[in-house]
Symmetry: C2
Subunit: 409 residues, 2 copies
Amino acid sequence: MPVGLVPPDPAALFPVPGVRLGATAARIRKADRLDLLVVALDAGTRVAGVFTRNRFCAAPVSVAKEHLAGRSEIRALVVNTGNANAGTGEEGVRRARQTCEATAQLLGCAAEAVLPFSTGVVMESLPVERIVAGLPGALADLAPAHWGQAAEAIMTTDTCPKAISRRIMVDGVPVTITGISKGAGMIRPNMATMLGFIATDAPVGQVLLDEWVREVADQSFNCITVDGDTSTNDSLMLIATGRAPLPPIEDRRSPACAALRQAILDVAVFLAQAIVRDGEGATKFITVRVEGGKSREECRQVAFAVAHSPLVKTAFFASDPNLGRILAAIGYAGVEDLDVGGVRVHLGDVLVAERGARSPAYREEDGQRAMAEAEIVVAIYLGRGSAQATVWTCDFSYDYVRINADYRS
Amino acid sequence: MPVGLVPPDPAALFPVPGVRLGATAARIRKADRLDLLVVALDAGTRVAGVFTRNRFCAAPVSVAKEHLAGRSEIRALVVNTGNANAGTGEEGVRRARQTCEATAQLLGCAAEAVLPFSTGVVMESLPVERIVAGLPGALADLAPAHWGQAAEAIMTTDTCPKAISRRIMVDGVPVTITGISKGAGMIRPNMATMLGFIATDAPVGQVLLDEWVREVADQSFNCITVDGDTSTNDSLMLIATGRAPLPPIEDRRSPACAALRQAILDVAVFLAQAIVRDGEGATKFITVRVEGGKSREECRQVAFAVAHSPLVKTAFFASDPNLGRILAAIGYAGVEDLDVGGVRVHLGDVLVAERGARSPAYREEDGQRAMAEAEIVVAIYLGRGSAQATVWTCDFSYDYVRINADYRS
């Protein structure tokens, strides 16, 4: 059961003019589930992306990067679940290219105009023949309204599809932003998450789009962790079809630009948090906010140390305010000259620790009350500067072990 | 159930002339269990130690470091379990000092001659009055043969006491080395482990002893991890009573010296591995050996990334050769210029991956057979240099969650 997350209402997912989506059950790993998605983009669409920094990056990631760098106009994304096509060497790259070629042939565009994405089990051969066989079905399903199916088609151990829309006015013109994401395990994005696709009809220029995708990833997907495992397949795509009747948006100082960027960021943060809320075995949604650091980097170091500690995560699962575990994680986070006498820790509205020790005002029953919530904020003040960072994570339960001990079976 | 580890046979634990041990049940946290240990050292004994690098280091760690640095002769160690006296601020330091003072008074030595150690729950007040009340009982129990009780008295979530002896001949004189350790969770030592005490009657000079304790920690306790959580209380003490009838051992180039150092290292490696074999919820003992790196540091980075990955650890628990998870961990370990095409992975004697992908010769049934063992070696060849490193760890089971969700109750 995801924490504070319900399946999206299809009626609340607004089509983005210029984008059509089609999904099918191609039996890539399991029967009777959507596992192949094609996203077709109208001519004139601009696409920007960020990808995993895992050195074992997946074959489709290599091919997508190459196609994006080639700057031929991107006309389609093709996404399969059930197999990550990672740790598959040169044969994997060949199969990712075959997927692009088959899609391009059916759509009547160049293979370089197609970006491939895969997610699922690592180090197994991609059944490209099933993908090729499934493509006509996915294309027959193409429609602007199919964001809901698309969100479903990219799920792996997710228990809930993740999708959201925003509509804002830019210079009196309604602009739509709709995004989907997936991911529940192997989640500690380093550049982007497992898979996230955000589209808008705003005519955003390529330079600005490239900047935004990095900035947005940095403030959304790069702030989440489930298990600390950076995936081989993380990809975030930002798509601007330019179909809204607006002049090109290229000056980041314009007020319209700021509003649009904020709306895109809101969508990205929702999708990133949705991944944590549906994290494998999650029963709690935890925000770790670190303030008063010398740099954003050291704040992130501390936040991730707390968010990755199996001891902290199991204590949250147990709703046990065993808060010394948080202090221990702060202490080993790698801030070498940290003066623990300046550290303060809040759990929700409860002051837990100050001056390097338990606060005299702290009462166990207050800690217990704060731990019992399904959504918890841990606020840590380092007392040595003005930088800050926030990380979102979930707890560590029996179900995490069950899901990952069973995943392939 | 620890993996490949049985309780030590008390008859096989040799006394170390110059060392007496006494334990008692002081009711520090639980009734009816040994939880207070005094180790009394004869005059002339030399002691060297290494301690946690956690910035929230425990009060007894601060006091022990101070007393060791003072170079007054150390005459006793006092160790309690049930409470770590960490995250307890200045009041914690006061209580650690009170413990030393009470011990010193009973033994007739200076408070600075006593080193305090604590282990157990973090951020709770040390019940120093119970320790003081328990000390006479511990002292009444002092005897050279009590290493077995001592190993029991320092356990927390350990299911099995950890102790070992070696006897070697040095220049025709028998020399004894006996050591004990404890720890099962919050184990990712950075300098030393939770608690490890190794004593010998060899007359090792102080300079050499100080060097050895660091070198030995680096090749034993600093190579293990259970959950990646570096404790606030890690301490390793190396004790040389000098009672063996030998001239002072001060020249590290002498053959006698090499043999003694190796025997001490053997004891330390056994004790460190014993902690992993009895790691919280462990069902597998896993050796991660990384070879062919440019530096030992990058080999350790890769080994720890694999050893800490919850996805890898749950796959081991399930005996599921989901080996792509190992590749993914190698890929995100932070070796920025790693050429994955040069990476090779063996599981036991099975070649799993080569040239960045699954080996053509790999068969799932071979992987399954290797994963079914209780003790597994993962060998990773980076193919970029001649450095190597080994890390020992365990798997991640339901019981890890159970133990840590229940620990304080």
